[in-house]
């Protein structure tokens, strides 16, 4: 099930909240566990067994790690951590990368791996990363092992962040699983953030997404230079508002249930460098890779070549995490290259230059990166990039570009504005009275507008089926 459907908003959520608040405190995790399993089963059916398997295996491994550590058996603890990582990576690799590897090998003539046509379980990249963090956190002493298997199951399956993140580390959530406070204030702030997320997804992302889809579907000869850029701009906004919208919905739903998740996006499009962009974009993924891959590899406390190698590994992994396809790997390495350039000489001049230079530079490379991200087929990508840079032999603009620009200009302007903290800072400056008035209007209006788009939603894609 996905959040942006009528059945989730008006049936699943209503029933879950009702049961959650009607049962005694002790029973709430059971309500969450059962509803989360139902949530996953609804979309993935048989694959819900992965949830049971994951819960059982990681639960056992966590206890094992703790017991070994208590007995001073560090080697045993390490073995247990390794075994848990192997299990999680095996799960991820089989479902996500088997067909990709097999297909790539077959295209160079090696046929020992058959292409199985495995269907990718939704959200597998998110929850395998979360469960991996668990045993590692227990080993590092950052969290205590969870003794109650129902509570652990709740952590693994928690529906607000199950299928599209954010990736929550066990050390950040473990205590809340055991004990959390639900208050009206927290619930109401959850309503606000959920509303923001729904509006981002339904009113902006889906809207500009249609624009990108029409450009993506065009043959290169039908494109125009300005049109190709407009299309990429549309995807730039689609991916941000869709992804951060899902994260906001997760944070909001979490708060309504008494949880506090860390924010996942921090206005990435106001960055003045790529380095800054990656501190603001999909924060839960970059911190995961930093803590569980980059630092264990040695981080930057080593010789320069080794440090560069560590970064290369991290960015290759980041790329391929987004989907089992070569373009995602290229996308990751593209950022590796940019970050290297910045670290070695660009960052200093950028800081001295006027802010506008940094903004333009960052958005230019970010937009190009989204073209690489969005177009999986290399020959199509090459043709599209050529058109963007005026090498496609197509006109600068045509009538249909004019039509798209006029139709989408208001929504694109709104998206640009909403990518900055301007709205939030204006809101903060209002008095209590003003805030309450604005908030009431926005929530009521948002509920009506979002319901209208939920009900008559001819276009409502789920972008993370690759992840």
């Amino acid at each position: 099930m996905v959040f942006s459907t009528p059945i989730f908003m008006f049936y699943f959520l209503v029933l879950t909240l009702f049961l959650y608040y009607i049962v005694p405190r002790r029973g709430r995790n059971v309500v969450l566990l059962v509803s989360s399993l139902f949530f996953y089963w609804w979309g993935e059916r048989a694959y819900v067994s992965i949830m049971f398997l994951s819960t059982a295996i990681d639960y056992t491994h966590g206890l094992l790690v703790e017991r070994c550590k208590a007995r001073g058996n560090d080697k045993g603890a390490k073995m247990a951590v390794a075994s848990s990582i192997v299990f999680n990576l095996a799960l991820l690799c089989f479902f996500k990368y088997w067909d990709f590897i097999a297909g790539s090998l077959q295209s160079v003539g090696l046929t020992f791996m058959p292409v199985l046509g495995v269907h990718l379980p939704i959200g597998i990249s998110f929850y395998t990363f979360q469960t991996m963090s668990y045993t590692i956190d227990v080993y590092r002493g950052d969290a205590r092992a969870q003794r109650n298997i129902l509570n652990f199951g709740t952590f693994v399956t928690l529906f607000p962040q199950l299928i599209a993140g954010p990736i929550i580390k066990y050390k950040d959530l473990g205590d809340q699983i055991n004990e959390r406070t639900c208050s009206t204030e927290r619930f109401a702030s959850g309503v606000q953030i959920l509303m923001v997320g729904l509006a981002k997804k339904l009113l902006i992302a889906n809207n500009v997404g249609m624009l990108w889809d029409s450009y993506k579907a065009m043959a290169p000869a039908e494109l125009t230079v300005a049109g190709a850029w407009l299309g990429v701009l549309a995807f730039t906004f689609q991916i941000y508002f869709d992804f951060s919208g899902y994260s906001d919905m997760a944070v909001g739903l979490g708060r309504m249930l008494g949880f506090e998740f860390l924010p996942n996006f921090n206005y990435p499009y106001i960055s003045k460098s790529i380095t800054e962009f990656w501190r603001r974009w999909h924060i839960s993924l970059s911190t995961w890779f930093r803590e569980y891959l980059y630092i264990p590899l040695g981080g930057n406390r080593c010789a320069k070549p080794r440090w560069m190698f560590n970064l290369l590994v991290v960015w290759a992994a980041t790329g391929i995490w987004h989907g089992a396809s070569w373009n995602f790997l290229c996308w990751g390495l593209y950022f590796f290259a940019l970050l290297m350039v910045e670290k070695f000489f660009l960052l200093k001049p950028l800081e001295k230059a006027p802010a506008l230079v940094g903004h333009v530079y960052t958005m230019f490379f970010v937009m190009v990166s989204w073209a690489i991200f969005a177009i999986e087929d290399f020959s199509h990508l090459e043709a599209y990039l050529k058109v963007m840079f005026g090498l496609g032999g197509v006109p600068l603009a045509n009538a249909s570009f004019g039509y798209c620009l006029v139709s989408y200009l208001p929504i694109l302007c709104l998206a640009a504005l909403a990518s900055t903290p301007l709205g939030a800072s204006v809101y903060r400056r209002l008095g209590t009275r003003g805030q309450q008035a604005v908030c009431t209007v926005l929530i009521a209006g948002g509920l009506i507008a979002c319901t209208a788009y939920l009900v008559d939603g001819t276009y409502n894609p789920f972008l993370y089926s690759n992840f």
């Binding site: 008006f10 209503v14 909240l17 109401a188 309503v191 008559d456």
Partner: protein
């Protein structure tokens, strides 16, 4: 946030989602949405099989969405919101000038496109034309082929500036050039009258006036005497017609259309096969003027076969392979034929060849609107 305000927000939100949920559950089930002009999703069937295949979930999601409290309001609200945000179209319908809604027409491919990633295979124009030419080869009587351009082509000047739409004229010309059938120049007949009300503003069909120009194009191609509009008395049968484009677009801010009739229903016998057996029909069915689907006033709407007999015993017998555009055309054809057989491939799977021989038909017209000819999946039956 103050305690009081947070209670207010919590109540507002819960009352809204809970209210929609409860009211939707209490509302009686509807099978059909007259406003949207379509059948709504039936309650999902619960069985091990539908659960295992995921069909239950898909149907349940559609069911919830189709039977949500205030659905008609939400559909209209979305169209309004699109309009306010500067969009010039909603659900594939352009908001044209002069209060006109116009269906978006995509450029069809010449070659077949295979099925991929859940999108079913599509027949290209060459394949479609191939079926027509098989029919031409099968027949011992002459076969005429007519493609009716859509409002998007004839009323290009009413489209939003730069709105993408297929170059129907060029495609029709190329199809006419390639086919072995004799052709009917409907574009040439309609285009000079683009300033007149030849299509409905809220429906994708041509009006009776448009059908009149179409009828003369047919008669000209056949070498028969043309009709004269001045010899008819125009009767406006309703001025409350909200058509198919009203339904799909969600646009609720336009005035309704009028439906006119020209040819009097005199000395004409109509036999309709709505459900497999013949029943007495009529050129005009007044009861449809009281419901949403008012275009079905003409002949009573889609049917597998319709036979219209006139008093002109010496005139030729024609078989028209039809879509719904032919329904408002048929009254004009009664002036020049003894029998008109309207044959719909979507509901009638029998052989055209056999039918033509058994009923001693003198000529066959394959008459489609551009949009139907380029998308209908039953054209292969032409070749049988």
């Amino acid at each position: 946030m103050t305690k009081k305000f947070s209670i207010f927000l919590t109540v507002l939100f819960c009352a809204f989602i809970g209210g929609v949920c409860v009211i939707s559950l209490l509302l009686p089930d509807k099978d059909f949405s007259p406003l949207e002009n379509r059948y709504l999703q039936k309650p999902p069937k619960l069985s091990l099989e539908t659960l295992g295949s995921g069909k239950f979930m898909e149907d349940a999601e559609d069911y919830v969405s189709d039977h949500i409290a205030g659905r008609d309001f939400w559909v209209a609200a979305k169209a309004w919101s699109e309009r306010l945000s500067g969009k010039k179209e909603n659900n594939g319908v352009y908001f044209g000038a002069q209060d006109t809604l116009i269906n978006r027409v995509d450029t069809p491919a010449w070659e077949d496109t295979p099925a991929q990633q859940g999108v079913p295979a599509k027949q290209g124009l060459s394949t479609r034309l191939g079926y027509l030419d098989t029919l031409v080869g099968n027949m011992s009587v002459p076969v005429y082929f007519g493609l009716i351009p859509s409002a998007a082509e004839i009323w290009r000047d009413r489209l939003p500036a730069g709105a993408p739409t297929a170059d129907e004229k060029a495609i029709i010309d190329q199809l006419y050039f390639s086919t072995g059938a004799s052709t009917i120049d409907l574009y040439g007949a309609l285009a000079p009258h683009s300033g007149e009300d030849i299509y409905y503003r809220t429906d994708h069909h041509w009006t009776s006036l448009g059908a009149y120009y179409g009828a003369n194009a047919v008669l000209e191609a056949l070498g028969l005497e043309p009709l004269d509009l001045n010899s008819y008395q125009k009767t406006t049968v309703t001025d409350q017609f909200n058509g198919t484009l009203f339904s799909t677009s969600g646009v609720r801010w336009l005035p309704p259309d009028t439906i006119d009739a020209y040819v009097p229903n005199e000395g004409i016998k109509v036999t309709s096969w709505f459900k497999g057996s013949p029943e007495e029909g009529s050129l005009y069915v007044d009861s449809y003027l009281d419901v949403k689907d008012k275009y079905s006033y003409f002949l009573g709407g889609n049917q597998a076969l319709c036979v219209i007999e006139t008093e002109r015993a010496d005139a030729p017998k024609v078989l028209v392979v039809r879509d719904s555009y032919s329904d408002s055309l048929a009254p004009f054809l009664t002036e020049r034929f003894s029998e008109i057989h309207l044959f719909d491939l979507r509901y009638n799977l029998s052989s055209i060849k056999g039918y033509v021989e058994n009923n001693s038909i003198d000529l066959v017209i394959v008459l489609y609107s551009f949009a139907n000819f380029t998308t209908d999946t039953n054209l292969f039956l032409l070749g049988r």
